[in-house]
Symmetry: D2
Subunit: 95 residues, 4 copies
Protein backbone atom coordinates (compact mmCIF):
# COMPACT_ATOMS: atom_id res chain seq x y z
CA UNK A 1 0.00 0.00 0.00
CA UNK A 2 1.09 3.54 -0.67
CA UNK A 3 1.44 4.41 3.04
CA UNK A 4 3.17 1.23 4.26
CA UNK A 5 6.84 1.71 5.30
CA UNK A 6 9.28 0.52 2.66
CA UNK A 7 11.99 -1.91 3.70
CA UNK A 8 15.68 -1.29 3.13
CA UNK A 9 15.76 -3.10 -0.20
CA UNK A 10 12.81 -1.11 -1.47
CA UNK A 11 14.37 2.16 -0.35
CA UNK A 12 17.65 1.28 -2.04
CA UNK A 13 15.84 0.38 -5.24
CA UNK A 14 14.04 3.72 -5.15
CA UNK A 15 17.27 5.66 -4.53
CA UNK A 16 18.75 3.94 -7.56
CA UNK A 17 16.28 5.92 -9.68
CA UNK A 18 16.68 9.17 -7.72
CA UNK A 19 20.11 10.69 -8.42
CA UNK A 20 21.40 12.88 -5.61
CA UNK A 21 18.88 11.64 -3.08
CA UNK A 22 19.94 9.93 0.17
CA UNK A 23 18.29 8.02 2.97
CA UNK A 24 19.04 9.88 6.20
CA UNK A 25 17.17 10.45 9.42
CA UNK A 26 14.41 8.05 8.33
CA UNK A 27 13.72 10.26 5.32
CA UNK A 28 14.53 10.64 1.64
CA UNK A 29 16.60 13.80 1.45
CA UNK A 30 18.20 16.01 -1.14
CA UNK A 31 19.73 19.47 -1.09
CA UNK A 32 19.18 21.67 -4.14
CA UNK A 33 21.24 24.77 -4.93
CA UNK A 34 19.90 27.43 -7.30
CA UNK A 35 21.32 30.55 -8.89
CA UNK A 36 19.65 32.78 -6.33
CA UNK A 37 16.78 33.16 -3.87
CA UNK A 38 14.22 33.91 -6.58
CA UNK A 39 14.92 30.65 -8.38
CA UNK A 40 14.70 28.80 -5.08
CA UNK A 41 11.28 30.32 -4.41
CA UNK A 42 10.11 29.52 -7.94
CA UNK A 43 11.16 25.92 -7.37
CA UNK A 44 9.30 25.69 -4.07
CA UNK A 45 6.12 27.04 -5.65
CA UNK A 46 6.24 24.50 -8.47
CA UNK A 47 7.05 21.75 -5.97
CA UNK A 48 4.04 22.85 -3.91
CA UNK A 49 1.66 22.00 -6.75
CA UNK A 50 2.92 18.43 -6.79
CA UNK A 51 2.69 18.15 -3.02
CA UNK A 52 -0.94 19.26 -3.19
CA UNK A 53 -1.73 16.97 -6.12
CA UNK A 54 -0.40 13.99 -4.15
CA UNK A 55 -1.77 15.32 -0.84
CA UNK A 56 1.69 14.58 0.52
CA UNK A 57 3.89 17.35 1.87
CA UNK A 58 7.62 17.67 2.26
CA UNK A 59 9.79 19.14 4.94
CA UNK A 60 11.38 22.12 3.15
CA UNK A 61 14.28 24.12 4.52
CA UNK A 62 15.29 27.19 2.55
CA UNK A 63 18.18 29.58 3.11
CA UNK A 64 18.83 31.94 0.19
CA UNK A 65 19.59 29.75 -2.86
CA UNK A 66 19.43 26.38 -1.11
CA UNK A 67 16.43 24.15 -0.55
CA UNK A 68 16.82 21.02 1.56
CA UNK A 69 14.04 18.51 1.26
CA UNK A 70 13.22 15.64 3.59
CA UNK A 71 10.41 13.23 2.80
CA UNK A 72 8.71 10.71 4.99
CA UNK A 73 5.14 9.83 5.84
CA UNK A 74 3.46 11.08 8.99
CA UNK A 75 0.68 8.47 8.75
CA UNK A 76 3.28 5.69 8.59
CA UNK A 77 5.09 6.69 11.79
CA UNK A 78 7.36 9.06 9.87
CA UNK A 79 8.83 6.23 7.81
CA UNK A 80 9.55 6.33 4.09
CA UNK A 81 6.70 5.02 1.97
CA UNK A 82 5.80 4.82 -1.70
CA UNK A 83 4.26 8.31 -1.38
CA UNK A 84 7.70 9.74 -0.63
CA UNK A 85 9.18 8.03 -3.66
CA UNK A 86 6.38 9.46 -5.81
CA UNK A 87 6.93 12.97 -4.51
CA UNK A 88 10.71 12.68 -4.93
CA UNK A 89 10.22 11.65 -8.56
CA UNK A 90 7.86 14.56 -9.16
CA UNK A 91 10.44 16.93 -7.63
CA UNK A 92 13.20 15.52 -9.83
CA UNK A 93 11.06 16.12 -12.90
CA UNK A 94 11.02 19.85 -12.05
CA UNK A 95 14.75 20.37 -12.28
Amino acid sequence: MARTPLNTDEINAALHELPGWSFAGDALTKSFTFADFQEAVGFMVRLAFHAEALDHHPSLHNVYNRVEIALNTHDAGNKVTEMDVKLAKAIEALT
Copy 2:
Protein backbone atom coordinates in the same frame (compact mmCIF):
# COMPACT_ATOMS: atom_id res chain seq x y z
CA MET B 1 15.25 59.82 -18.17
CA ALA B 2 13.98 56.38 -17.36
CA ARG B 3 10.31 57.40 -17.54
CA THR B 4 10.43 59.51 -20.73
CA PRO B 5 8.64 57.97 -23.74
CA LEU B 6 11.03 56.36 -26.21
CA ASN B 7 10.77 57.37 -29.85
CA THR B 8 10.28 54.89 -32.67
CA ASP B 9 13.99 54.50 -33.35
CA GLU B 10 14.69 53.82 -29.71
CA ILE B 11 11.90 51.26 -29.52
CA ASN B 12 13.17 49.51 -32.64
CA ALA B 13 16.68 49.44 -31.26
CA ALA B 14 15.37 47.90 -28.04
CA LEU B 15 13.33 45.28 -29.93
CA HIS B 16 16.49 44.30 -31.79
CA GLU B 17 17.84 42.97 -28.47
CA LEU B 18 14.54 41.39 -27.38
CA PRO B 19 13.80 38.33 -29.52
CA GLY B 20 10.12 37.52 -29.79
CA TRP B 21 8.97 40.90 -28.45
CA SER B 22 6.78 43.23 -30.50
CA PHE B 23 5.56 46.81 -30.27
CA ALA B 24 1.77 46.70 -30.28
CA GLY B 25 -0.94 48.78 -28.67
CA ASP B 26 1.63 51.28 -27.38
CA ALA B 27 3.33 48.50 -25.44
CA LEU B 28 6.16 46.01 -25.62
CA THR B 29 4.46 42.65 -25.82
CA LYS B 30 5.36 38.99 -25.86
CA SER B 31 3.42 35.78 -25.47
CA PHE B 32 5.11 32.92 -23.64
CA THR B 33 3.95 29.29 -23.80
CA PHE B 34 4.98 26.83 -21.11
CA ALA B 35 4.63 23.10 -20.65
CA ASP B 36 1.67 23.53 -18.32
CA PHE B 37 -0.10 25.83 -15.86
CA GLN B 38 2.34 25.14 -13.05
CA GLU B 39 5.29 26.29 -15.13
CA ALA B 40 3.37 29.39 -16.14
CA VAL B 41 2.69 30.23 -12.49
CA GLY B 42 6.34 29.60 -11.56
CA PHE B 43 7.35 32.01 -14.30
CA MET B 44 4.94 34.70 -13.11
CA VAL B 45 6.26 34.42 -9.55
CA ARG B 46 9.87 34.82 -10.67
CA LEU B 47 8.86 37.68 -12.96
CA ALA B 48 7.12 39.33 -10.02
CA PHE B 49 10.40 39.65 -8.12
CA HIS B 50 11.89 41.62 -10.98
CA ALA B 51 8.81 43.81 -11.25
CA GLU B 52 9.10 44.63 -7.56
CA ALA B 53 12.86 45.22 -7.76
CA LEU B 54 12.32 47.74 -10.57
CA ASP B 55 9.09 49.07 -9.02
CA HIS B 56 7.62 48.64 -12.48
CA HIS B 57 4.76 46.27 -13.12
CA PRO B 58 3.58 44.46 -16.22
CA SER B 59 0.19 43.71 -17.60
CA LEU B 60 0.03 39.91 -17.33
CA HIS B 61 -2.62 37.76 -18.95
CA ASN B 62 -2.56 34.07 -18.14
CA VAL B 63 -4.69 31.25 -19.47
CA TYR B 64 -3.41 27.77 -18.61
CA ASN B 65 0.11 27.48 -20.08
CA ARG B 66 0.22 30.89 -21.78
CA VAL B 67 1.35 34.21 -20.35
CA GLU B 68 0.93 37.34 -22.42
CA ILE B 69 2.88 40.33 -21.25
CA ALA B 70 2.37 43.97 -22.19
CA LEU B 71 4.71 46.63 -20.89
CA ASN B 72 4.31 50.37 -20.88
CA THR B 73 4.66 53.11 -18.29
CA HIS B 74 1.66 54.55 -16.49
CA ASP B 75 3.59 57.65 -15.37
CA ALA B 76 4.56 58.38 -18.98
CA GLY B 77 1.01 58.39 -20.33
CA ASN B 78 1.12 54.64 -20.96
CA LYS B 79 3.95 54.99 -23.45
CA VAL B 80 6.98 52.72 -23.69
CA THR B 81 9.97 53.97 -21.69
CA GLU B 82 13.39 52.70 -20.69
CA MET B 83 11.74 51.05 -17.66
CA ASP B 84 9.80 48.75 -19.99
CA VAL B 85 12.95 47.79 -21.83
CA LYS B 86 14.65 46.99 -18.53
CA LEU B 87 11.77 44.83 -17.36
CA ALA B 88 11.57 43.06 -20.74
CA LYS B 89 15.27 42.22 -20.50
CA ALA B 90 14.85 40.93 -16.96
CA ILE B 91 11.95 38.75 -18.14
CA GLU B 92 14.00 37.39 -21.03
CA ALA B 93 16.77 36.43 -18.62
CA LEU B 94 14.29 34.18 -16.79
CA THR B 95 13.58 31.89 -19.72
Copy 3:
Protein backbone atom coordinates in the same frame (compact mmCIF):
# COMPACT_ATOMS: atom_id res chain seq x y z
CA MET C 1 -22.80 17.05 -16.04
CA ALA C 2 -20.02 19.28 -14.80
CA ARG C 3 -18.99 20.40 -18.30
CA THR C 4 -22.44 21.04 -19.79
CA PRO C 5 -23.26 24.72 -20.41
CA LEU C 6 -25.51 26.22 -17.75
CA ASN C 7 -28.67 27.99 -18.87
CA THR C 8 -29.51 31.56 -17.89
CA ASP C 9 -31.51 30.56 -14.85
CA GLU C 10 -28.70 28.36 -13.60
CA ILE C 11 -26.16 31.12 -14.12
CA ASN C 12 -28.33 33.61 -12.28
CA ALA C 13 -28.81 31.19 -9.42
CA ALA C 14 -25.05 30.74 -9.22
CA LEU C 15 -24.39 34.48 -9.27
CA HIS C 16 -26.80 34.85 -6.36
CA GLU C 17 -24.24 32.99 -4.23
CA LEU C 18 -21.21 34.78 -5.69
CA PRO C 19 -21.15 38.40 -4.48
CA GLY C 20 -19.35 40.75 -6.84
CA TRP C 21 -19.32 38.30 -9.74
CA SER C 22 -20.98 39.10 -13.07
CA PHE C 23 -21.88 37.27 -16.24
CA ALA C 24 -20.15 39.05 -19.12
CA GLY C 25 -18.62 37.94 -22.39
CA ASP C 26 -19.91 34.40 -21.88
CA ALA C 27 -17.91 34.16 -18.68
CA LEU C 28 -18.19 34.55 -14.92
CA THR C 29 -16.04 37.57 -14.12
CA LYS C 30 -14.84 39.49 -11.12
CA SER C 31 -12.21 42.15 -10.55
CA PHE C 32 -10.25 42.03 -7.30
CA THR C 33 -8.23 44.94 -5.93
CA PHE C 34 -5.50 44.32 -3.36
CA ALA C 35 -3.29 46.55 -1.23
CA ASP C 36 -0.37 46.13 -3.61
CA PHE C 37 1.27 43.93 -6.23
CA GLN C 38 2.66 41.50 -3.69
CA GLU C 39 -0.78 40.75 -2.29
CA ALA C 40 -2.10 40.31 -5.82
CA VAL C 41 0.63 37.76 -6.58
CA GLY C 42 0.00 35.94 -3.31
CA PHE C 43 -3.66 35.69 -4.26
CA MET C 44 -2.87 34.33 -7.73
CA VAL C 45 -0.59 31.67 -6.25
CA ARG C 46 -3.25 30.48 -3.81
CA LEU C 47 -5.86 30.58 -6.57
CA ALA C 48 -3.54 28.47 -8.72
CA PHE C 49 -3.70 25.61 -6.25
CA HIS C 50 -7.47 25.48 -6.57
CA ALA C 51 -7.30 25.66 -10.36
CA GLU C 52 -4.96 22.69 -10.37
CA ALA C 53 -7.04 20.76 -7.85
CA LEU C 54 -10.12 21.17 -10.07
CA ASP C 55 -8.08 20.82 -13.29
CA HIS C 56 -9.90 23.93 -14.42
CA HIS C 57 -8.03 27.13 -15.18
CA PRO C 58 -9.08 30.76 -15.19
CA SER C 59 -8.29 33.64 -17.43
CA LEU C 60 -6.28 35.93 -15.15
CA HIS C 61 -5.38 39.50 -15.96
CA ASN C 62 -3.11 41.28 -13.51
CA VAL C 63 -1.91 44.86 -13.48
CA TYR C 64 -0.24 45.94 -10.23
CA ASN C 65 -2.82 45.45 -7.45
CA ARG C 66 -5.72 44.34 -9.65
CA VAL C 67 -6.62 40.84 -10.77
CA GLU C 68 -9.46 40.37 -13.24
CA ILE C 69 -10.78 36.84 -13.52
CA ALA C 70 -12.92 35.39 -16.29
CA LEU C 71 -14.17 31.82 -16.08
CA ASN C 72 -15.66 29.63 -18.73
CA THR C 73 -15.07 26.14 -19.99
CA HIS C 74 -13.00 25.44 -23.07
CA ASP C 75 -14.40 21.91 -23.44
CA ALA C 76 -17.95 23.30 -23.46
CA GLY C 77 -17.39 25.75 -26.30
CA ASN C 78 -16.24 28.45 -23.87
CA LYS C 79 -19.58 28.54 -22.11
CA VAL C 80 -20.10 28.74 -18.36
CA THR C 81 -20.46 25.35 -16.69
CA GLU C 82 -20.66 23.97 -13.19
CA MET C 83 -16.83 23.83 -13.18
CA ASP C 84 -16.71 27.62 -13.41
CA VAL C 85 -19.11 27.98 -10.52
CA LYS C 86 -16.96 25.62 -8.45
CA LEU C 87 -13.80 27.55 -9.21
CA ALA C 88 -15.50 30.88 -8.51
CA LYS C 89 -16.62 29.58 -5.10
CA ALA C 90 -13.11 28.36 -4.34
CA ILE C 91 -11.73 31.78 -5.29
CA GLU C 92 -14.26 33.54 -3.07
CA ALA C 93 -13.21 31.37 -0.15
CA LEU C 94 -9.66 32.76 -0.48
CA THR C 95 -10.58 36.37 0.18
Copy 4:
Protein backbone atom coordinates in the same frame (compact mmCIF):
# COMPACT_ATOMS: atom_id res chain seq x y z
CA MET D 1 25.17 50.18 11.34
CA ALA D 2 22.56 47.86 9.91
CA ARG D 3 24.87 44.83 9.90
CA THR D 4 26.49 45.28 13.35
CA PRO D 5 25.45 42.66 15.94
CA LEU D 6 22.86 43.96 18.39
CA ASN D 7 23.58 43.59 22.10
CA THR D 8 21.22 41.87 24.51
CA ASP D 9 19.42 45.06 25.47
CA GLU D 10 18.86 45.96 21.84
CA ILE D 11 17.55 42.49 21.06
CA ASN D 12 15.19 42.61 24.03
CA ALA D 13 13.94 46.03 22.98
CA ALA D 14 13.28 44.69 19.48
CA LEU D 15 11.45 41.61 20.80
CA HIS D 16 9.22 43.93 22.81
CA GLU D 17 7.78 45.14 19.49
CA LEU D 18 7.64 41.68 17.89
CA PRO D 19 4.89 39.62 19.54
CA GLY D 20 5.49 35.89 19.35
CA TRP D 21 9.14 36.21 18.36
CA SER D 22 11.95 34.75 20.50
CA PHE D 23 15.71 34.94 20.63
CA ALA D 24 17.02 31.39 20.27
CA GLY D 25 20.11 29.85 18.70
CA ASP D 26 21.57 33.30 18.00
CA ALA D 27 18.53 34.13 15.85
CA LEU D 28 15.15 35.84 15.98
CA THR D 29 12.66 33.03 15.58
CA LYS D 30 8.94 32.55 15.22
CA SER D 31 6.73 29.65 14.23
CA PHE D 32 3.62 30.43 12.20
CA THR D 33 0.69 28.04 11.77
CA PHE D 34 -1.74 28.48 8.88
CA ALA D 35 -5.03 26.87 7.91
CA ASP D 36 -3.31 24.60 5.39
CA PHE D 37 -0.32 24.13 3.12
CA GLN D 38 -1.62 26.52 0.47
CA GLU D 39 -1.84 29.39 2.94
CA ALA D 40 1.65 28.58 4.17
CA VAL D 41 3.01 28.74 0.61
CA GLY D 42 1.16 32.00 -0.05
CA PHE D 43 2.77 33.44 3.08
CA MET D 44 6.25 32.33 2.03
CA VAL D 45 5.83 33.93 -1.40
CA ARG D 46 4.75 37.25 0.07
CA LEU D 47 7.56 37.04 2.63
CA ALA D 48 10.00 36.42 -0.22
CA PHE D 49 9.24 39.82 -1.76
CA HIS D 50 10.27 41.53 1.48
CA ALA D 51 13.41 39.43 1.75
CA GLU D 52 14.40 40.49 -1.76
CA ALA D 53 13.51 44.13 -1.15
CA LEU D 54 15.81 44.17 1.91
CA ASP D 55 18.37 41.86 0.28
CA HIS D 56 18.22 39.90 3.50
CA HIS D 57 17.02 36.31 3.54
CA PRO D 58 15.52 34.16 6.26
CA SER D 59 15.95 30.57 7.21
CA LEU D 60 12.52 29.09 6.42
CA HIS D 61 11.38 25.66 7.50
CA ASN D 62 8.02 24.50 6.22
CA VAL D 63 6.08 21.34 6.96
CA TYR D 64 2.47 21.41 5.77
CA ASN D 65 0.77 24.35 7.51
CA ARG D 66 3.72 25.44 9.65
CA VAL D 67 6.50 27.86 8.78
CA GLU D 68 9.37 28.32 11.20
CA ILE D 69 11.50 31.35 10.61
CA ALA D 70 14.98 32.06 11.98
CA LEU D 71 16.70 35.35 11.26
CA ASN D 72 20.30 36.34 11.69
CA THR D 73 22.93 37.97 9.54
CA HIS D 74 25.54 35.97 7.70
CA ASP D 75 27.79 39.02 7.18
CA ALA D 76 27.77 39.68 10.91
CA GLY D 77 28.98 36.23 11.93
CA ASN D 78 25.42 34.91 12.05
CA LYS D 79 24.47 37.31 14.82
CA VAL D 80 21.21 39.27 15.04
CA THR D 81 21.44 42.74 13.50
CA GLU D 82 19.10 45.57 12.68
CA MET D 83 18.45 43.87 9.31
CA ASP D 84 16.84 40.94 11.11
CA VAL D 85 14.61 43.25 13.11
CA LYS D 86 13.54 44.98 9.89
CA LEU D 87 12.72 41.70 8.20
CA ALA D 88 10.86 40.43 11.27
CA LYS D 89 8.74 43.59 11.29
CA ALA D 90 8.00 43.20 7.57
CA ILE D 91 6.97 39.59 8.18
CA GLU D 92 4.69 40.61 11.04
CA ALA D 93 3.00 43.14 8.79
CA LEU D 94 1.99 40.26 6.46
CA THR D 95 -0.11 38.39 9.00
